[in-house]
Point group: C2
Chain length 283, copies 2
């Protein structure tokens, strides 16, 4: 299959490596506004050729759009305008807004909305790695709004990696990802800021920061260009979880003030329950 990937960054680049390696794609065409990214991708042989958008669409059977979720809103309709027989997918972290955007497009059924649940705190083609998606979950959203033939191609793509597929409606997707991904980013950014603010003596952070701290603030290294559009589109769900998180922290605060360590123990034992869930996952 000839696959065009638009946005040759962490996600698009890693997907290109995987789909070439496992034989799903015979040819990968790269499209990116950043010339330097395309050159790097060509030199690393992550893509076979770099083309302007229109030519790339014309030559390919499947188009993967791996750009920030605000750019998706412009790009997906534009691509749908141009395609004839091609299948188009996105890999964005929010779904309700893009679904609303394409809802009445005459070629809506060529589009399949997906979200492979994988990533790192790094970005750009330099961060593209093999095996990023292996054995992880991918979401296909509002599957009934896409043509069965298009869905079949996309399922074949994800199974080739292999990824496990779950089907959600866009609304549920955005609620769940606020819980299990977006709030982690806010929490991590806030923790990094808190510590940077408090610890003016950076050398001390450098020396004393243990692996626990590094793990908790890892996501604070993430790219604002990727995450701000996500926060913008999923603002209401994020606010809801953020309120709950601030309440939980305030509960710890109040129990510490009252020195109620029995109740703190109860909360910690409840939180320990996350162990059972994450261990099943082995991440």
């Amino acid at each position: 299959m000839i696959v065009t990937i638009i946005g040759i960054g962490l996600i698009g680049g890693s997907l290109a490596i995987t789909l070439r390696e496992n034989g799903f794609a015979q040819t990968i065409i790269g499209v990116d506004m950043n010339e330097e990214s395309l050159h790097k991708a060509l030199r690393r042989k992550i893509i076979d050729e770099a083309l302007p958008l229109e030519q790339a669409i014309e030559k390919s059977q499947l188009i993967v759009v791996a750009v920030p979720v605000d750019s998706l809103l412009v790009l997906i309709p534009k691509i749908l305008d141009q395609i004839t027989h091609q299948v188009v997918i996105d890999v964005g972290s929010t779904k309700v807004t893009i679904m609303d955007t394409v809802r009445n497009h005459p070629k809506r059924r060529h589009f399949v909305a997906t979200h492979p649940m994988a990533g790192t705190e790094f970005s750009g083609i330099e961060a593209a790695i093999p095996n990023l998606f292996d054995e992880k979950y991918t979401v296909i959203c509002d599957v009934e709004d896409s043509a069965p033939a298009a869905v079949e191609v996309v399922e074949k793509l994800y199974r080739s990696i292999p990824m496990k597929i779950i089907y959600l409606n866009a609304k549920d997707h955005d609620v769940h990802t606020a819980y299990v991904s977006h709030i982690s980013h806010i929490s991590s950014f806030a923790l990094a800021l808190t510590v940077l603010e408090k610890e003016k003596d950076e050398e001390r952070i450098f020396e004393l920061a243990s692996t626990g701290f590094s793990s908790t603030v890892r996501l604070a290294k993430s790219e604002p260009d990727t995450w701000i559009p996500i926060f913008r589109q999923n603002r209401d769900n994020l606010l809801d979880v953020l309120d709950e998180h601030i309440n939980t922290l305030s509960q710890f605060r109040s129990l510490l003030i009252k020195r109620d360590f029995d109740k703190i123990r109860k909360l910690m034992e409840e939180a320990n329950h996350i162990k059972r869930i994450l261990n099943q996952k082995k991440v």
Copy 2:
């Protein structure tokens, strides 16, 4: 050297493995209230023999106390009462309280307060691993209150691993560790609770949780028996950082409500600065 390790868990057990492997200890004696832990440590040959406290002290030259920080307050004075020539160290995560406890002990100068900045979210002898401490930092506290000969032994121990040593007073130590370790634990426990509370459908967490989420809540798997005494002893510093953290999260909340994404970007870019600090460390 004949070394007694009291508390054969994650820290004590890992230290035993390392000190035996690098030749610092010729014999390691294990002391633990938990018989099963001692048996496991003997079977894994992490310790050479298991003895009651008094006999272990008598036979050894160096005593490492690796128990929760509340038990330290009882054990360290008791051990100091009994020793003649031995050196005693702790490896606890808080320092002001233990320093106050031993301040006027006639054998205070035999005691060296240390804190190797390493750990995992697991606990018990089952979690003991080689290389846990390699190339990490260890703190030696209030070094002037210990006998130079005792300090020399302890420096030799940590350099044998090898670990890098920094010297802090107990008060600064407790302030810094609240920033770079203790608040991460509270944040992680609170985040796990928030998501468990919100996501009653556990299967969805299991499926959708990406590595980012797992990384952010990893510390929520930690053992309350270890961490509650730390929170109790470092309560005031922890409350101070926790207040700041809640304020930072509330700032994000308020900016989200106002849709002020320019200001959110500024905060995220500031937080990105943590990258430079952690990358130097390569953790």
